[in-house]
């Protein structure tokens, strides 16, 4: 699977950093609830295409940074992202996601769990989200996936047929 190579070392770290910044930029009011989970999308991308290079440590630390930036419980997003990576790696080994539908299936499952974990943790820290639109990023992440996927693919050599 891993015949691809990164265009430069540190490409994964760079992309995660950019995703982190993207998720911090506030969107105008009616769109703000649709902010896609950029970091989780990046983790899924690297999990699918570079399963051996994907590192739990990097994902864990990225999660800690998100927690510090958003004032959530320390480790909350780390747990979420570690679960995202685990789901991506396990599912990808079974169905080696080449088609869009398979990828969407992985996203649905991984980001769904990610949001569910955050939901649970927010409940614990007594800032329970009230509305259905807490789950809006699940939909917007799927919509944003092809763009994120294409952009991230610029950071490595493309495989034939993808």
């Amino acid at each position: 699977m891993e015949q691809l190579s990164l265009r430069f070392s540190g490409a994964i770290l760079t992309s995660l950093f950019v995703a982190l910044i993207l998720s911090l930029i506030p969107l105008p009011e009616p769109f703000s609830i649709w902010q896609p989970e950029w970091v989780a999308l990046a983790v899924i991308h690297w999990g699918i295409l570079f399963p051996k290079t994907s590192s739990y440590i990097v994902v864990f630390i990225t999660g800690l940074l998100i927690d510090s930036l958003s004032g959530t419980l320390l480790g909350q997003h780390s747990l979420g992202l570690v679960v995202v990576l685990y789901i991506t790696l396990s599912l990808n080994r079974r169905l080696s996601a080449k088609t869009l539908m398979q990828q969407v299936f992985i996203i649905l499952f991984a980001i769904g769990s990610y949001l569910a974990i955050n939901y649970f943790m927010l409940n614990i820290s007594h800032s329970k989200p009230k509305d259905w639109y807490y789950w809006a990023p699940l939909l917007s992440s799927i919509v944003a996936w092809p763009i994120a996927h294409r952009l991230l693919s610029m950071l490595h050599t493309s495989p034939r047929g993808l």
Binding site: Q35, L69, G71, L74, L122
Partner: protein
């Protein structure tokens, strides 16, 4: 043999890191990892600053390219306001002198006076369940947990976390936030609880029959956290919850601060009269 199996290796790693994360969560829940929190806050400060930079730049750019005519007009307006305030200030000074005399007569001290500083908002929370913002001043500027932040003439919120160069402020509309208030018209006290919606609080613990639409609620100094008489919210609607079929309405109010617009905050120190030495 066990480690060479990629599936088991993956699961093992996952379990180790998941356990580590859960351990951290429990420790942070008990507030036992302030060192890690502070270290992370220092690392993430440049990131927040970077994200805020475009906004600051456009703001600065707008001011720079504002036309001369506009500027002088604005200047004129501001000078007018200053003149009005100066006149009011005179009035206040004589009143405060009178107050002090009366206090001496009555042997009261402990009247609270306030000291202020300004601060900019760096980032707005992306997490939709929490209404918090980060500001660009911290414990280096003597900010402290629980300190009150104002925007314009209304209360904005309260600091919940300070580190050296930045602090996190929770807005009045956060579901975790409650502020004691009183009705300006009737004097009835109430609690303004955040609803999680932007610019909205719910008024509880008050007699709903005596609340009218458009009543103003000001902060009461109950609990000694918030300063007295700052505007908090204006009653917007009384709604009966159909699900519960309740006879008691939910009273919703719009906050005095427009959280979509506020970019600068005033932070307030309440100083006891006897302690005042210098004011900024």
């Amino acid at each position: 043999m066990l480690l060479s199996n990629p599936t088991q290796n993956n699961t093992l790693k996952f379990l180790v890191f998941a356990a580590l994360a859960i351990f951290l969560i429990t420790q942070d829940f008990k507030k036992q990892v302030p060192i890690i929190n502070t270290a992370l806050a220092i690392i993430t400060y440049p990131i927040k600053y970077m994200v805020d930079l475009p906004f600051t730049m456009t703001h600065m750019g707008q001011e720079f390219f504002m036309e001369h005519q506009q500027l002088s007009k604005k200047n004129e307006e501001l000078e007018k306001i200053i003149a009005i305030y100066a006149a009011r200030d005179q009035n206040y000074r004589s009143i405060s002198a009178q107050n002090k005399r009366l206090q001496k007569l009555l042997n009261i001290s402990n009247i609270k006076q306030n000291r202020y500083t300004t601060s900019n908002i760096l980032t707005i929370e992306t997490n939709r369940a929490k209404q918090v913002v980060t500001i660009d001043k911290g414990s280096d500027d003597q900010l402290f947990d629980g300190q009150v932040a104002l925007a314009g003439n209304g209360i904005y919120g309260q600091i919940i976390n300070t580190s050296a160069k930045q602090s996190i402020v929770v807005q009045l509309s956060d579901t975790n936030h409650t502020i004691p208030v009183y009705n300006q018209r009737t004097g009835d006290s109430a609690l303004a609880v955040g609803t999680g919606q932007t610019n909205e609080v719910e008024l509880t613990n008050t007699d709903h029959r005596r609340v009218h639409i458009n009543d103003l609620y000001l902060s009461s100094a109950d609990g000694e956290i918030f300063p007295r008489d700052f505007l908090v919210a204006k009653v917007k609607e009384k709604r009966y919850d159909e699900d519960i079929n309740s006879q008691i309405p939910i009273i919703l109010a719009t906050t005095a601060t427009d959280y979509n617009r506020a970019r600068e905050l005033l932070l307030i120190w309440q100083v006891k009269n006897s302690e005042i030495t210098t004011t900024e």
